[in-house]
């Protein structure tokens, strides 16, 4: 089926009815669900927040105001830059990267262990245990961590019982709960791509390397990791994008003083009702995170086609 083919060939291959249905569904998805909404949001982000009566009128012109707001703050403000929002942005990106690396370190050994063990009952039990938390709502998972890290949470309760501390430690405002929650929310998206790739690695290669006298570290560096690179890249991409775009965990676990960038977007939409400003912020988030992912893919020489396998 892999011969060169253009539209006429496609319909010849599938028949007019089936070919038509397939084309319609795919076109609907790509154009109506993916491309047009994104373009519409992009267009929206360059407009003023006008009352409904003025929409489409002479005042409805393009502007860079919404983007300027993110960088310089409201017009006529005293400071040079909108430091509050920019700090939130930088913090979101850096923290998402940190969460990604933390997940990688935590998952790699397990992915290796699961991937290289034969499918015994124990291994399958482990896999089942891995999947169970993923079926729980994201909100509930974040909330479970809140029960653990809260002021009267399990950890504070235990530590006070032992006498380690006499005042509850504020895990929430220290953002420890948030990072734990973000790592927790997306840990399986790191694990399973790596597991799938490592499973396909021939055990004999590792045996051979070991017989040749390679050290444990060297085996991983020269044999396992190069083979697992697509899986690692795929997992890291997904975890980074999802943590940077996370909303549930920051809302439930975030401290009172520190916000996540998506929370700003949410506020523009739902509290301030300035959709244009929110769209601009969303575009910035989208472009920045895609740029970061592409840069890292370039550095580590990974193809887009490896993602999702």
């Amino acid at each position: 089926m892999k011969k060169p083919m253009i539209f006429s060939g496609f319909f010849k291959n599938n028949g007019a009815v089936m070919g038509g249905i397939l084309m319609f569904l795919v076109a609907f998805w790509i154009i109506v669900l993916i491309l047009l909404p994104q373009l519409s949001m992009l267009d929206f982000s360059f407009r003023y927040n006008l009352p409904p009566a003025d929409v489409g009128g002479p005042k409805d012109v393009y502007t860079l105001r919404n983007y300027k707001f993110l960088i310089f703050g409201p017009e006529g403000a005293t400071g040079n830059y909108n430091t509050v929002d920019l700090m939130v942005f930088v913090r979101t990106i850096l923290a998402a990267m940190a969460v990604t690396v933390m997940n990688l370190i935590l998952c790699y050994p397990l992915a290796y262990y699961l991937g290289q063990s034969k499918g015994t009952g124990f291994i399958r039990l482990l896999v089942v245990m891995l999947v169970v938390p993923y079926w729980i709502n994201e909100i509930l998972r974040a909330f479970a961590l809140r029960i653990i890290f809260g002021d009267i949470g399990v950890i504070n309760g235990l530590m006070m019982q032992i006498g380690l501390i006499d005042q509850p430690y504020d895990f929430i405002n220290a953002d420890i709960a948030l990072y734990a929650g973000l790592g927790y929310a997306y840990i399986l998206l790191m694990l399973f791509p790596m597991y799938n790739v490592i499973e396909s690695l021939d055990r004999n290669q590792i045996e051979a390397a070991r017989d040749m006298g390679a050290s444990w570290v060297r085996i991983h560096r020269r044999v396992v990791i190069p083979h697992a690179k697509p899986g690692i890249a795929s997992g890291m991409t997904m975890v980074f994008m999802l943590s940077a775009g996370a909303l549930a965990a920051p809302q439930v676990l975030g401290g009172t003083s520190s916000l996540w960038f998506t929370q700003l977007v949410y506020q523009w939409f739902n509290d301030t009702l300035n959709w244009q400003q929110g769209a601009a912020y969303a575009i910035v988030l989208l472009v920045a995170s895609i740029a970061i992912v592409l840069t890292f893919m370039k550095i580590f020489k990974v193809n887009m086609g490896d993602i999702g396998k």
Binding site: P4, V17, M41, I147, L247
Partner: protein, 439 residues
């Protein structure tokens, strides 16, 4: 060498325990809170074992409504995204190789786009479309319609990945043979490809439903006036909460484990039937050395036992005792405090006639604290404050807080600054105090 292996095993065991502790620990803790009668979900001030939160869950109209909406959205999303995903994967296997890379990038992109962005773009786009059509296209702004579209945008990508994996093992020769034998393309699709894809369709549908059911980021922008379960939960978490959502988590976990174990048992059985594993003699075949079966039976027993005991068990006595103990504790603290204050006032205030009145004021101010429903009120407020769900009781019990309460009683009388306890003599005030005492 041997010690090395032993060390490796211990390290592995420790690592596995840490990893699964991180993964499952929070769920276990949340599960425990579902059975604690404390009105804020917590473990450490353990009050009484109770089932009341399960009852509360099924009486919560908003939760039930949310579940209903989630099901409607979930079914719509499954239909839309499974068919889109299947079509997209079929096109991927046939597309002109030069376009393949671009095409794959486009259809994989929705997985990587933040859910927030998907939600916003769906909302903005369809709002525009409906503006274009005017009032006749009101359904375009409907929350369920928008949510299904927004979620399908990225869930279709997940489905597509599932189908691509299955299609790699499909022999296109089968379809060609069917066509040669005179089948139409539609027949070939229905009779050859669809049956081959059935397992993949089933798993894609399950995946799509789950992804839809638990989606928050996209839905939070598109739900309109049809909040799904996740939206309701997020609002409960932010604006006041009781352990009934822990009860919901317990139910979901139980169902999940049940289904997972059942699938495992089923797989095992079909393997035994196929002769890949030989059953041991002396045991019924279904119970043959199978961890999954044993766990499944145990789980069923636990659930049945819980439902049975829930009919007769009542934590009223325990709750009463707990409250009693709490009150005695508070009483002791207050007595100590009062003694301290009396000592201080004895030093400062010379005139004796005011002394009993001051005591009376103290009792009046503290009277609120004694009233049981008052405690509940305080707890309710504590848990409703989203930023500070600290200890709902902590505020009440903290000695400094009590001092504050007493303090405000005195400071609230700007008209009579002469005596700090002057307002106590006002008859209405006394009535109010005795009124609350009566509770």
């Amino acid at each position: 060498m041997r010690s090395n292996i032993l060390f490796g095993r211990i390290a592995l065991a420790v690592y596995l325990v840490i990893f699964f502790g991180y993964l499952l620990g929070p769920l276990v803790v949340m599960g425990i809170t579902a059975f604690n009668s404390a009105s804020f979900p917590s473990v450490t001030p353990w009050q009484c074992f109770t089932y009341e939160w399960f009852g509360a869950l099924f009486q919560d109209e908003r939760i039930l409504n949310g579940i209903r909406n989630s099901f409607i959205v979930g079914i719509g999303t499954v239909i839309l995204s499974v068919s889109i995903g299947l079509a997209a994967s079929l096109v991927l296997t046939q597309i002109w190789p030069r376009f393949r890379g671009t095409y794959y990038t486009i259809i994989i992109a929705p997985i990587l786009i933040p859910g927030v962005v998907l939600g916003i773009s769906t909302l903005v786009f369809w709002r525009r479309v409906s503006d274009m059509f005017g009032d006749s296209a009101n359904f375009l702004n409907n929350g369920i319609f928008l949510t299904i579209l927004g979620q399908s945008t990225f869930i279709a990508s997940y489905c597509m990945l599932v189908f691509v994996a299955r299609l790699q093992r499909f022999d296109p020769g089968l379809t060609e043979a069917a066509l040669d034998l005179g089948a139409t393309h539609t027949q070939a699709f229905r009779k050859i490809l669809l049956p081959f894809m059935r397992p993949a369709i089933a798993s894609a549908a399950v995946l799509a439903f789950l992804a839809s059911f638990e989606n928050y980021n996209t839905t939070t922008f598109t739900f309109g006036s049809y909040p799904t379960l996740t939206i309701e939960l997020s609002q409960m978490v932010r604006y006041g909460i009781n352990p009934s959502i822990s009860a919901l988590a317990v139910i979901i976990v139980a169902i999940t484990v049940f289904v997972a174990l059942a699938v495992e048992v089923y797989r095992r059985r079909s393997k035994v039937k196929a002769g890949e594993i030989k059953p041991r003699k002396g045991l019924p075949a279904w119970l043959f050395g199978n961890v999954a079966t044993i766990l499944l039976v145990l789980l069923s027993f636990v659930v049945i036992a819980m439902i049975y005991t829930a009919q007769s068990y009542s934590p009223q006595q325990c709750k009463f005792d707990y409250r009693e103990a709490r009150q005695i504790e508070i009483q002791n603290k207050i007595d100590a405090l009062r003694a301290e204050r009396a000592a201080q006032q004895g030093a400062v205030v010379e005139s004796t006639p005011q002394e009993p009145a001051a005591q009376g004021a103290g009792a009046g101010a503290f009277g609120n604290v004694f009233a049981p429903n008052n405690l509940e009120d305080a707890a309710g407020q504590g848990s409703e404050a989203p930023a500070a769900p600290a200890s709902p009781f902590g505020n009440v019990f903290a000695p400094s807080n009590l001092e504050d309460a007493a303090g405000t009683g005195t400071e609230e009388a700007p008209a009579a600054p002469a005596s700090p306890f002057g307002n106590v003599f006002a008859p209405t005030n006394l009535e109010g105090a005795s009124g609350t005492d009566g509770n």
